[in-house]
Amino acid sequence: MKTEIIALAAAIAISVSTLGPAIGQGLTAKSAMESIARQPDAAKDIRSTLIISLALMEALTIYGLLIAFMLVAKI
């Protein structure tokens, strides 16, 4: 029984922690695309800011991934 619960917890940890950042990253990329389309001159600045903000959001998913790996290692 215990191993099943741990497996389920790992699955929930990674899937929930993917959902939020995925939505956020989608919105970020969308507005970055729009602003590049509107102002192609600023593409360089926008791109570097985009990568930084994507990386910061990515970190949340990575924390979830780490927790999932820790849980899987316990099985």
Binding site: I51, I52, A59, L65, M70
Partner: protein, 224 residues
């Protein structure tokens, strides 16, 4: 973080040498040999090899120049570029066949100890750079805009390197794990897809790490 490295042999009886350390030695040797060869054969009209290296250095110079401004990026270029080159070599070393499969050679950045070390090094670098840029500004940063922000800003200073280390470790380790899982599901062909993606992600992670360090650096050494 539930990770353990197998000790291959203890150096001088106390320093435990693991697969990551061996790989780091190999990387250091490769980088040193490349730099020595290039430095030895410097020419006014560069050959192919020198051209490639020059393009790389120019790319890094522009990269940090855009983030920090020309003068500041030149001052801290040696540290930032060294960080970038080491991380990108360490990430790509995980793609070589056999690396990570045995205990003797492993991609260094897939171990939390190595990335935590990189985080600590950049933490110390940021503090020193901040203090050298101006002691008054350095301490003023902790109490601006309000005095009661002090605990939060102090905490933030320690969270920065920790999140840098965890991000790099999580990405590289996660990639290796996914590739391994794909390999155990279907060994022929399928892992190549993930490895091709890794080619992109490895470079991106090295870029993100140094980019964030240089942004923190920009914050710390801001001219008043």
């Amino acid at each position: 973080m539930g990770e353990e490295s197998k000790v291959i042999f203890p150096l001088f009886g106390i320093l435990d040498v693991t697969g990551e350390v061996v790989m780091m030695w190999i990387i250091l040797a490769v980088i040193t040999v490349i730099s020595l060869i290039v430095r030895h054969n410097l020419k006014e009209r560069p050959g192919i090899f020198q051209n490639v290296i020059e393009t790389g250095v120019e790319y890094l110079d522009n990269f940090f120049g855009d983030l920090l401004g020309r003068e500041k990026s030149r001052r801290y270029f040696s540290f930032l570029a060294a960080l970038f080159i080491f991380i990108i070599f360490a990430n790509y070393s995980g793609l070589f066949p056999g690396v990570g499969q045995t205990d003797y050679v492993k991609a260094p950045t897939s171990s939390l100890s190595v990335t935590a070390g990189l985080g600590i090094v950049s933490f110390v670098f940021l503090q020193i750079a901040g203090l050298r840029a101006g002691v008054k500004h350095y301490f003023k940063r902790f109490v601006s805009p309000m005095f009661f922000m002090l605990p939060l800003l102090l905490l933030d200073e320690f969270i920065k390197p920790a999140s840098l280390a965890l991000r790099l470790f999580g990405n590289v380790f996660g990639e290796e794990m996914v590739t391994e899982e794909l390999y155990s599901i279907f060994p022929i062909g399928v892992p190549v897809v993930m490895m091709a993606l890794s080619l992109l992600f490895c470079a991106l992670q090295a870029m993100v790490f140094t980019m964030l360090v240089s942004i923190y650096l920009d914050e710390e050494t801001e001219a008043e």
